[in-house]
Structure formats: C-alpha cells, structure tokens
C-alpha cells in the first residue's frame, strides 16, 4: 500500500485515494477544430511511461482535492506532489526498457 503525500492533508495510505491517469494533458480548447486523430490522442492515448510519471490523483476519502504526483512506475518511488496549476518539482527523470 503506497504512502501518498497529499499536498493538503499530508501523507496518507493509498486506499484513501483514487487514480486519475496521466497529468498535464489539457482538454483541447476547441474540440471541434481538431482532427479525429488529435481528439483520439486526448481521449484515449497514454504516455504510460515506465519510469518517472506525472500523474493525477484525488484524495477521495480525504480532502477530495485533485493533485499531481511524480512517481516512478517501476519502483513506486514518489518524487513529490504538487497542486493543480503548480509547476512540477525538478526531478531526475528516468525511463526503463
């Protein structure tokens, strides 16, 4: 069970949270003007990185705020959490084969 640092409440157990997938993937401003391919990219495609991943979580059984987390998807090491709209912390990014 992960120990996740909610930027509002502090470190809490994983089962208080829900996952929201890849972060920093803004909804297209004017969806009607983009191609089917670009739209499919937004709705379905994932970086799905093996390594340092920027992702969204919500503290659903806590403060109910969404926030971002930088986590290594192989080792589960957590490099930091930051609020929506804030810039991510500087992280030595890693990827693996």
């Amino acid at each position: 069970m992960l120990l996740i640092p909610c930027p509002y409440c502090g470190e809490r157990a994983e089962n208080e949270f829900s996952y929201g997938g890849e972060a920093h993937k803004p909804r297209p401003e004017v969806p009607e003007e983009i191609s089917d391919a670009t739209w499919a990219d937004y709705v379905f495609l994932q970086k799905n990185t093996k390594g340092t991943y920027y992702e969204r979580w919500i503290h659903s059984h806590g403060c109910r705020r969404w926030f971002n987390l930088v986590r290594d998807t192989l080792t589960h090491e957590i490099h930091g959490a930051y609020r929506m709209g804030e810039a991510p912390p500087k992280v030595d990014e890693k990827t693996y084969v």
Binding site: M1, Y19, L45, Q46, T75
Partner: protein, 417 residues
C-alpha cells in the same frame, strides 16, 4: 530433428536414465538480419513466429525476448480459457483461438494439459443476469457453446459454493461454457518454442529490444542489448510493455499498464472441479492438477510496471473468496505475485499495423489474453506476412480509436479473464 514425445519415447529414455533427450530449443546467437523479428517471447510472440514459419514459409525469423521465454504474463496468469465473449468481433477472435486450443497438444506434440473442465461465470445482480443472458444468446447465435445455469445447477458444479452470498451477492445463476477450462501455462510457451525452433526460428533470450531503426517511416531493424539486428518487418508482442516499445517507435497507444495479481493456496485434494469466475466481487478460482487453488485478483488502480500487487487488492479478493466459499477461510495462501497487463479503454485487444511501415503491434489483451494465445498469434502472423490485417483482426486495429468503432467488452466481461 526433434524427437517425438510419447509414452514410448519416455519409456525408452527411462532405460538410458533420460540422458539422451535432445534440447527442446536451441539458444542461438542472433544473426545480423532476419526477414521478421518478433519482439517478445511470450505465448503470443512464439505462436506468431511458429505460424510465420509454418503457414507463411517465413522461417528466417527471430523471437527476441528480454528475459526468459514465457516469463511475462504467459507465465503468471490464472490460465482461464473460454470463448464466450459478447460482441461478434470478439467471439470470432476467441472462438478461432479456442478451436486451436482443442488441437494444440497434438499439433505441438507437447501436452499442454488443456483441460476443458468448464468455465462458470456467476451473476450476482439482476443487471448481471441480463447482461449474462445477452451474452449467452449472442454466443448461441454465433454457434458458440454457452448456456445459462440456474443457481441449483451452479451448486451441482461447485458444491462448496455458498449461494446465498449473505444476501448481498447471492448467486442468481450464471453462464457456463463447457468447452472452456484451463491449461498448463508454461507448457504453452515451451510447446510453441519447441515447435517454432524446429521450423528454424531463432529464439533469443536475455536480449532486450531498446530501440528501432526507422528510415523514411519504415522500420529497418531493432537495436538490442546484444547489438543491432536488421529486419524487414518487426512484430511487437510485449503485453504490458507495449507502451514502452511504442514510445521507442515514436507513437502512443491507448493503453495503461497495471499490475494484475494472482495467488495460489497450498495444495489440497481436489475440491473445485471447474473454473468459477465472479466478476461482481472480483474473484476467480480454479484448482490446478497439483492441487493448489489458483486465484485471480484485481488490477491495481494505478499504472505500474512492478510485477507485484497492492495490498488492498489482495484483501478484497480474499474477502470475496471467503464470502463465496466460507470453507476456504482456513485455507492458506502459499505464494502471491503479479503481472503487468496492458489494458485498453474498450477491454479489447489491438492487432494492427502502425504509423511506422513494416512495424506491427499486437497488444491490449489486458487481463484476458492467455486464452487468445494461439488465435492471436495465428492471425497476427497472417497480418505481418501479408502486410494487411487478417479479416478477424480487422476490427481490432488502432484506427478504431479515431473512428469510434470500439468493441467494448466491459459490460459483458467485468474483468476479462
């Protein structure tokens, strides 16, 4: 060439203290160039190589495996095989596969212990009943065996089950596919490896693909931990790692990689004689021929490439097992592990050409691709050989995420083991 396996060869070899058995496959050094390189030595990759050689006459093929062959999800799944999927497209795919299963042991001269002991999918809510019946009727009209069983019949199949489910998850019935069952997962990988090797396929283990050589939008080879290897075509079949390989080739996939857990109990005398799946509570159970209860749990809620699972998921699954089978509360878990599955938004696989010419992907099988192993490899080989989707593969292209032609098996499958 290969020695044929039989009771006679076994007896003959017993006389020479088993010292004369040949290797099941070679361990060759990679050549400089192949007609086709298959990345990923799991079941799907090995079957693909086998059929390239067998049906398409392409024998200059390498299967490149990062670790040991069969060590991915092929080696860590709960081995449920069935074909009673809901949509026509899926049913065609999985039924194609099931037919190949039925002949696999003979075809490979390798006993994969395919055991058609029957697969029961329980329905616990009125909505599940409705969806289950819809699937059964669809199966029936597609010519696939599938039948509704009433709770009393469930009890006959699984005498140890508690039908009341404490009022919360009562067993309201279920679907039964008699031709479904289990197989010895490792044997599937080994059997195909041996057969492909016999046809000249090089199986190269402990060799990771670390990049692609792409010229003018066409793949020309792979870069591996053992050096560059040229290839006219490359088929990628790496399950949970599909996204990693796609990133190497410069595109993204509609896939999230998540650990899926399984566990086994200590071995006991046979007490569960078919496969029982309960999607509503996330618990799948069968008993291996050695006596362990093999139990499938859920996927972790977050992306991860760690081959282990999160604690609450195990708790949930074992709570459900205790609930459905109160007499198993005293059983003990002997080993627990995880595999990284490639889940697609519509719970259906991708068998497809890609934005890179000569590069093909077969992935997205998520929690349920073991059953598809022979069929998937068969149609993927055809797709790679002919540079166009096999008719069964056609609906499962990457295009569907653009056009919207999703084949959403969620409703019918719960978790699609």
């Amino acid at each position: 060439m290969k020695a044929r396996y039989s009771i006679f060869s076994l007896a003959r070899n017993a006389l020479s203290s088993h010292e004369n058995w040949p290797q099941a496959w070679r361990s060759p050094e990679p050549k400089k160039e192949y007609d086709v390189v298959i990345v990923g030595g799991g079941g799907h990759g090995l079957v693909t190589a086998y059929y390239l050689a067998k049906e398409h006459g392409i024998t200059n093929v390498a299967v490149i495996e990062k670790g040991w062959l069969g060590g991915g999800n092929t080696g860590r799944n709960t081995t449920i095989v069935r074909s009673n999927y809901m949509w026509d497209e899926s049913a065609a795919l999985y039924e194609h596969s099931l037919k190949l299963w039925e002949n696999m042991t003979k075809e490979l001269n390798f006993n994969v212990m395919f055991s058609q002991r029957g697969v029961l999918n329980l329905a616990h809510t009125l909505n599940e009943v409705r969806i289950t019946k819809r699937r059964i009727h669809a199966n029936r009209l597609n010519g696939i065996d599938s039948e509704w069983v009433e709770p009393e019949q469930v009890k006959e199949w699984v005498p140890i089950i508690d039908l009341r489910g404490n009022g919360r998850y009562p067993v309201l019935g279920g679907s039964l596919q008699r031709r479904g069952g289990t197989a010895r997962h490792d044997a599937v990988a080994w059997g195909y490896a041996r057969a492909a090797d016999a046809l000249g396929v090089d199986i190269i283990q402990q060799c990771a693909v670390e990049g692609f050589d792409i010229e003018d939008g066409r793949v020309t080879g792979v870069r591996t931990s053992k050096g560059a290897i040229k290839a006219k075509k490359v088929g990628v079949v790496v399950a949970g790692h599909a996204g990693v390989l796609a990133n190497m080739a410069g595109f993204k996939l509609p896939i999230n990689s998540r650990p899926l857990q399984a566990l086994v109990s200590e071995p006991v005398k046979p007490c569960v004689h078919c496969v029982v799946m309960a999607g509503a509570v996330h618990a799948y159970i069968s008993q291996s021929d050695k006596g362990e209860l093999v139990i499938g749990a859920g996927t972790d809620a977050y992306n991860s490439y760690a081959q282990w699972g999160s604690n609450p998921v195990t708790e949930d699954t074992l709570a459900a097992i205790c609930e459905l089978y109160p007499l198993f509360r005293r059983m003990r878990m002997m080993r627990q592990w995880g595999g990284v599955v490639d889940t697609c938004p519509d719970a259906s696989p991708i068998i497809s050409t890609t934005p890179v010419k000569g590069l093909y992907f077969n992935c997205g099988w998520g929690t349920g691709g073991f059953k598809a192993t022979p069929g998937s490899g068969h149609i993927f080989a055809d797709t790679v050989a002919n540079d166009r989707p096999h008719p069964i593969a056609e609906p499962f292209s990457l295009e569907r995420f653009k056009t919207g032609f999703l084949i959403d098996e969620h409703a019918a499958a719960g978790v699609a083991h």
